[in-house]
């Protein structure tokens, strides 16, 4: 066990809602968002705005899709409810803690096993589910007093591994921890109490990346996660639609058995399992309290691999979502989660517009004074952005947005593969990043940046009329965002400066001050 392991430090982030005032502000903002959205779309959908019909159709489709996503986001966040910690009563129940492993380093896994052994509030049996077949892992499990399970046939990836263990264990509750997520001692105390309601299938807790200070990718990935495990997860919980996120989760064995265990044919087994459970009438609970600290992707390849798997899995689950007998609200939530991975198409469209305008002169909007577009678009954009900032409580950063935008091609690629029904394979997200530049992991984004840079130069060379400059400015905006997004792939990973890390932590932790 290393003393420098960031997972062993106290968590600095909280997933809990800032309070009743926050909910009030949030709902007030939502009330403001809707009229501004109508104001913009009322203007945009006027037939006189049509420029090039095809481009206009693409623009409208992209804007409508984003509007739906935005409304879904506002609706989700507005659904958050007051949360109170519960305490379990009665004798401590038995819990099997399952830690699936697949060739991860020992020093990553051992703190998790040791911490799992120290969990309070239950009679815990920890199982190390080793798909790597490592003797060192077996010795480590023995050393820490954990059970060791090894499969002969490694089918179904992580889901198969867990299902294999489920058949060999018997406790009424099953906790699943990724091997890099170190639980806090109170993990079970905070979650088990919710099973007093027999309809609860699982209790999910946040993922918190303790390595957020280990480079720009880790920071940006964490920033994205913080928005999800903060406002979005709280909102989904309010809408009874929180899905399992694969780790830091406790299941009722009865629910798992009824669902037939983890689905082994999916890249996002946790998502599909949640869908099945909700379809069977089970409930889920989200505890907005950091109860485990884990590791996020530290390099571009890891991030791309993770995002690609999520995108493939969620998009592939779309038909199941449409078919499943779910309440409307729950179905809408699942649809929102799945369709999020189509946003890359809209980014691609937005990037294409200035390129097409500069190269061909065609543009989606015509006969519209630029200032009129600005007048209608700016308030909508401003309030939407403000909502993101408000929901994220400052945790969602520009670099996170840039990385997300620069991942547009992942969504495009994943959706094409899904549409073509090409099979995918489960790849474990690497727990340690590489220090080497990884331009290949961001090649499509780099190509897009090159195109944009070319049209910027071309546009400036062709003329300086306001219309061209306007499109050049749009191209520069996209280019800058892409640049920030792919920059970490082009330089060696480096830890964030201490000052910046502190500033970020302070921004997450502290309320607004009348100070700098």
């Amino acid at each position: 066990m290393t003393t420098h392991d960031p997972r062993l430090r106290a968590p600095r982030w909280t997933a809990a809602s800032p309070g009743a005032n926050h909910r009030l502000r949030l709902r007030a903002c939502v009330a403001l968002c809707l009229p501004l959205a109508i104001f913009y779309f009322g203007w945009l959908l006027d037939p006189s705005r049509v420029g090039n019909p095809l481009l206009y159709a693409i623009l409208v489709a992209a804007e409508l899709f984003n509007l739906l996503q935005a409304i879904g986001f506002w609706w989700t966040c507005a659904g958050e409810r007051a949360w109170h910690r519960r305490r379990a009563e009665g004798p401590p129940p038995e819990v099997d803690v399952l830690v699936p492993v697949y060739d991860e380093p020992i020093d990553v896994v051992e703190p998790t096993i040791a911490a799992a052994r120290a969990l309070r509030g239950a009679r815990v049996r920890v199982w190390l589910l080793d798909d790597g077949g490592s003797e060192e892992m077996r010795a480590m499990a023995r050393r820490n007093g954990a059970g060791y399970v090894r499969r002969r046939r490694r089918a179904g990836a992580k889901a198969g591994n867990i299902n294999h263990a489920l058949a060999r264990t018997s406790a009424p509750y099953v906790a699943v921890l990724d091997c890099d997520h170190v639980p806090l001692p109170g993990f079970l105390e905070a979650t088990l109490a919710h099973f007093e309601d027999p309809s609860v299938a699982f209790v999910q807790t946040p993922q918190c990346y303790a390595n957020a200070g280990h480079g720009d990718i880790a920071a940006a990935a964490w920033s994205q996660q913080a928005l999800f495990f903060g406002a979005i997860a709280r909102g989904k919980d309010g809408h009874e639609a929180m899905f399992c996120c694969g780790t830091n989760v406790v299941f009722s064995r009865a629910a798992l058995e009824e669902a037939g265990g983890f689905p082994e044919d999916s890249l996002t087994e946790d998502f599909e399992l949640s869908l099945r459970l909700h379809a069977q009438g089970w409930r889920s609970v989200y505890v907005p309290e950091v109860l485990a600290l884990g590791l996020g992707p530290e390099d571009m390849a890891s991030y791309v691999s993770q995002q690609h798997r999520w995108a493939r899995g969620c998009l592939a689950a779309l038909p199941a979502v449409l078919r499943a007998p779910l309440p409307l609200r729950t179905r809408a939530q699942y649809l929102l989660s799945c369709s999020y991975f189509l946003t890359g198409w809209t980014v691609l469209a937005y990037m294409a517009f200035p390129v097409i305008r500069i190269l061909t002169g065609a543009q989606p909007l015509a006969a519209a004074a630029a200032d009129q577009f600005l007048l209608h678009f700016a308030p909508y954009f401003g309030i939407a952005l403000g909502m993101v900032a408000l929901m994220g409580s400052g945790a969602y950063t520009f670099r996170a947005f840039a990385l997300q935008s620069a991942s547009f091609w992942i969504h495009v690629h994943a959706s094409v593969l899904t549409l073509l029904r090409r099979p995918g394979s489960f790849k474990v997200t690497p727990k340690r990043g590489t220090d080497a530049p990884q331009p290949r992991a961001a090649l499509p984004a780099l190509a897009a940046a090159a195109v944009l840079a070319t049209v910027v130069v071309l546009g400036l060379a062709r003329g300086s009329d306001p219309s061209t400059l306007n499109n050049v400015a749009f191209a520069i905006v996209h280019l800058t965002i892409l640049g920030f997004g792919v920059a970490p792939a082009l330089r060696p990973a480096r830890p964030l400066a201490a000052a910046e890390r502190r500033a970020r932590e302070r921004a997450r932790a502290a309320p607004a001050q009348w100070a700098a």
Binding site: D371, G382, G392, G394, F398, F474, A507, A516
Partner: protein, 913 residues
């Protein structure tokens, strides 16, 4: 008794020269003495003036001229002798010991005059009898000075006042009677008689009487009498050498004009003559309150004289000296101010002499006299130049003497030294030195990057040239602005004249002050690095530079806004009474300076409400904030209340004239800021105004292109994601945006309202935000420095474009246009111009030209002179049409176009038969 040996061995070190403090006397007693004697002096002045006026009417002009010459000679003898008063005031014993020598010297002088009266009579064109009378008066000059000084020293104020009063009394009785009987010689005899009568009243008391109030200190200070006399001689030189220089350097006409100034300045100098003399013995006795009383009295008398002259200098000079001296009206107040400063300086010099620092005072005065001499040689090309030379010298002298006096005060000295050291220490930090350099650089840039006055400036200058009451009336009935800046400009014109630099001086100072103020604000709101960056941006930012060069209220607006925000943050964070008071004063100054600043005040009040009423605030903190907030709001209301009736009258008057508050000058650069086809602000207009606020004024084409880059704003907005919410930053954003947004909304109804000048409080806030962004976003100090340098570079380029690009729609080169006309015009030529409201700017730059508006009619059909048609605001159809019609009419009358000149926003057609 023990003091005497101390004097003998006293080292020169000033610390040990402090006299033994005397028991403090009540202020009322000290002030009473001073006022009594000053009243006697003023009475004497009024009486002597009355004597002159009566004899002017009594005598024939030639006879009065003789009397006036006699009086001048009489004064010439008495002025140097008056320095003896200082010595005997400090050491009354001197009056007795020096009496014989002074009498002897006076007698000799008198004898010499008497002996030379015949040749002198020829030279001076005076009757011999008058010169003999002058000889008879000569012995009295020194004796009166000695004896009056002794009376001041002994505190015999009643007798001193009587001595002062008896002189005009005798002149007005015996002098007038003799004058009526014997002509100017009789009147002169009355003057001499009055001098002897004054001497008789001021007779030095016996030795026993001398031991009245100031015995011990008088002995102590006795050794300084020589330095005191020298110091007062130095003061007399500074007071009078300009008259001598004017006579020597200027022609008769200009010398006569300066004589008028000198006479007016003599009012202030004369009124304060007795104050330092009364101070001398009291300061020597260690009366600490004597100095402030004397300074206050001298200051009040001096300022009274300045005010008396400044209210209507033209009318005063016209009535007193004749209309031909009107030309010096502009510098009358500055010169009287110089003499008023000299009066205060005399008090400070007297104090220095009384406290043993006479040698230092002599050295200081020698330096001032030399400086004045050099300035007279450099600037003394006309009466105004001589007056300015004296003003500069007396300012320097007053500042030096004041500084020395403050340093001499033991408690204040310690405090000041501490503060000075702290200030010096701050200045010599890299940041402090950098900001000092930026301030100097910014000032130089503002002075160098100049341009001619534009319409609004010329209008305000024309208003500020009026008497104060008339100016206020004009403002109240025809203008739309509150009177603060007009008042400052009014004072500036009276102090420095109405040249371009003079009228822009207040704005220049405010603009330069904005640089260190933003440094302090940035340092306190964020950190030192942000402060330095804000100062660097303010030094070169085009918008502040532009309005630092404009004789309007906008530089004040930005400065007051920065101070208001600074004080507000201090009040919330620290909450000292001074912070709240500073905030209230800055807010009130904002409203007195510009009505639209009320929007900023309201925004800041809303911010206070938000901070003080937010939930979760601890009760004591909430109480503190509420108390401070309410008290400051009450103070603002109190300070702004007097403006309300003025504003209401203004509004009513404008409404009655059918203008409402619409009589603002038309908006330049409208095509870049208004919605196409609609005379109301567009979103691009808002963008344009925002760009103007940061990047300055540029051509319409440039502005349209810059506005087209608005998508970069998306990037800016996105970059804010994940940044910590700071209430300070929110306040700055609110102060920058809310007034602008409010004016944008109002502008949909009244388009002229949405104009960047009216929300220029946003500029300091924007600069602070830019500085914060530039210094906090980059990950390293070097990167931050590079970003700030890049921003400063961009601002510098924008500033260069703003100043040099003639397509800048805000550049109206009236100076160049009228200069060109002046260069080409010959006697008999006529200038006609449109629109009519160019009259003020034509009056400013077109002095001497035969100019009138097109509305007033075109030149006579058969006139032979050439016609210059000058047209501006040609983007406005009515004025374009008017110019066109005038041109057509002139051509129909047989005139042909011989030249067409272009200046920025101005066109000139030159037509001839």
């Amino acid at each position: 008794m023990s003091a005497t040996p101390t004097i003998a061995t006293r080292p020169v070190r000033q610390r040990q020269r402090q006299p033994v403090p005397a028991p403090a006397r009540p202020l009322r007693a000290l002030a009473g003495e001073q006022i009594t004697v000053a009243a006697g002096q003023l009475g004497a002045g009024v009486g002597n003036l009355a004597f002159s006026l009566v004899t002017a009417r009594l005598l024939m002009p030639g006879a009065f001229a003789h009397l006036a010459s006699f009086l001048a000679l009489y004064l010439l003898v008495h002025v140097p002798a008056a320095s003896l008063s200082a010595g005997s005031a400090l050491t009354p014993a001197l009056a007795r010991s020096a009496r014989r020598r002074v009498l002897r010297a006076g007698g000799i002088a008198g004898a010499l005059v008497a002996l030379g009266c015949v040749p002198l009579s020829g030279v001076l064109h005076l009757p011999v009898a008058m010169l003999l009378l002058l000889a008879a008066a000569a012995p009295t000059a020194g004796l009166i000075a000695l004896d009056r000084g002794c009376l001041y020293g002994l505190g015999a104020t009643g007798r001193a006042a009587a001595s002062l009063g008896v002189e005009p009394l005798v002149r007005l009785t015996a002098g007038v009677a003799l004058g009526a009987l014997l002509g100017p010689t009789g009147a002169a005899a009355g003057v001499v008689l009055a001098g002897w009568a004054a001497l008789a009243v001021a007779r030095t008391p016996h030795r026993g009487d001398e031991r009245t109030r100031f015995e011990a200190p008088l002995v102590q200070a006795g050794a300084g009498a020589g330095a005191t006399i020298l110091a007062f001689l130095g003061l007399a030189i500074v007071q009078n050498q300009d008259v001598v220089a004017a006579g020597a350097l200027l022609g008769p006409r200009e010398a006569g004009r300066f004589a008028v100034l000198s006479t007016l300045g003599g009012l202030a100098a004369f009124a304060t003559t007795t104050v330092p003399l009364m101070l001398l013995p009291r300061a020597a006795a260690g009366e600490r309150r004597a100095l402030p009383v004397a300074v206050a009295l001298a200051g009040a008398l001096g300022l009274g004289a300045v005010a008396a002259v400044a209210i209507a200098p033209g009318a005063l000079i016209g009535a007193a000296f004749g209309a031909r001296y009107d030309g010096v009206a502009g510098v009358a107040a500055p010169y009287v101010l110089a003499m008023a400063l000299l009066g205060v300086t005399r008090v400070l010099v007297a104090h220095a002499c009384a406290t043993g620092a006479g040698r230092r005072a002599v050295a200081m005065l020698a330096g001032a006299a030399l400086l004045q001499f050099a300035l007279l040689l450099a600037l003394g090309h006309d009466a105004a130049g001589v007056a300015h030379a004296t003003l500069i010298a007396t300012c320097a002298l007053a500042v030096t003497a004041g500084g020395a006096a403050v340093l001499d005060l033991p408690p204040a000295r310690a405090a000041l030294l501490l503060r000075t050291r702290a200030a010096a220490a701050a200045l010599w930090t890299p940041a402090g030195a950098a900001v000092a350099a930026m301030t100097v650089g910014g000032l130089v840039l503002r002075v160098l990057a100049t341009r001619g006055l534009w319409l609004d400036e010329a209008t305000e200058v024309s208003q500020a040239r009026m008497p104060y009451g008339a100016m206020l009336h004009q403002l109240e009935t025809t203008d739309v602005h509150p009177p603060l800046h007009h008042t400052v400009l009014w004072l500036a014109i009276r102090m420095f004249g109405d040249g371009e630099l003079a009228v822009r001086l207040p704005s220049l100072i405010a603009g330069a002050l904005l640089i260190p103020v933003l440094f302090r604000v940035g340092s306190e709101l964020y950190d030192r690095r942000a402060g330095v960056a804000a100062a660097a941006l303010a030094a070169v930012a085009p918008f502040p530079v532009w309005y630092s060069e404009e004789a309007r209220m906008y530089a004040f607006f930005m400065l007051f806004a920065a101070v208001a925000v600074w004080m507000q943050v201090r009040a919330v964070r620290r909450g000292r009474p001074l912070d709240w008071a500073g905030y209230a004063l800055a807010s009130a100054a904002l409203v007195w300076n510009q009505y639209f600043a009320a929007l900023l005040v309201l925004t800041q009040q809303a911010a206070f409400a938000w901070v003080a009423l937010r939930p979760g605030l601890a009760a004591p903190e909430r109480r503190r904030l509420l108390h401070g907030w309410l008290a400051s709001a009450a103070l603002i209301a109190l300070l702004v209340a007097p403006l309300v009736p003025f504003a209401l009258h203004q509004f009513t008057a404008n409404e009655a004239a059918g203008k409402g508050f619409q009589s603002v000058p038309s908006q330049a650069g409208a095509s870049a800021s208004q919605q196409a086809g609609l005379q109301r602000p567009s979103v691009y207009g808002a963008l344009t105004n925002a760009v103007w606020a940061v990047a300055g004024y540029h051509s319409d084409a440039t502005m349209t292109r810059i506005a087209a880059l608005w998508p970069l704003g998306i990037l800016g907005a996105l970059s804010l994601l994940g940044r910590r919410r700071s209430r300070t930053t929110l306040l700055l954003v609110a102060t920058a945006l809310l007034p602008m947004a409010a004016l944008f909304v109002l502008g949909q109804k009244q388009p002229f309202i949405f104009e960047v000048r009216y929300f220029c409080a946003a500029v300091p806030a924007a600069l602070l935000l830019l500085a914060r962004l530039a210094t906090s976003w980059p990950r390293s100090g070097a990167a931050a420095t590079a970003v700030v340098a890049a921003l400063v570079g961009v601002m510098g380029v924008a500033e260069a474009d703003q100043q040099l690009n003639q397509s800048n729609p805000r550049t109206y080169d009236f100076r160049g246009a009228l200069g060109a006309i002046r260069a080409r015009a010959r006697p008999g030529d006529v200038v006609v111009y449109t629109p009519q409201y160019l009259d003020t700017v034509v009056a400013y730059y077109g002095r001497g030209l035969n100019a009138h508006p097109v509305d007033g009619g075109l030149p006579p059909r058969h006139g032979h002179g050439r016609v210059f048609l000058m047209a501006s605001f040609q983007d406005k159809p009515p004025y374009r049409l008017q110019a066109h019609q005038a041109l057509v009419s002139l051509r129909r009358e047989g005139r042909r176009l011989i030249a067409r000149l272009h200046r920025p926003e101005i066109q000139i057609w030159e037509l001839s038969r």
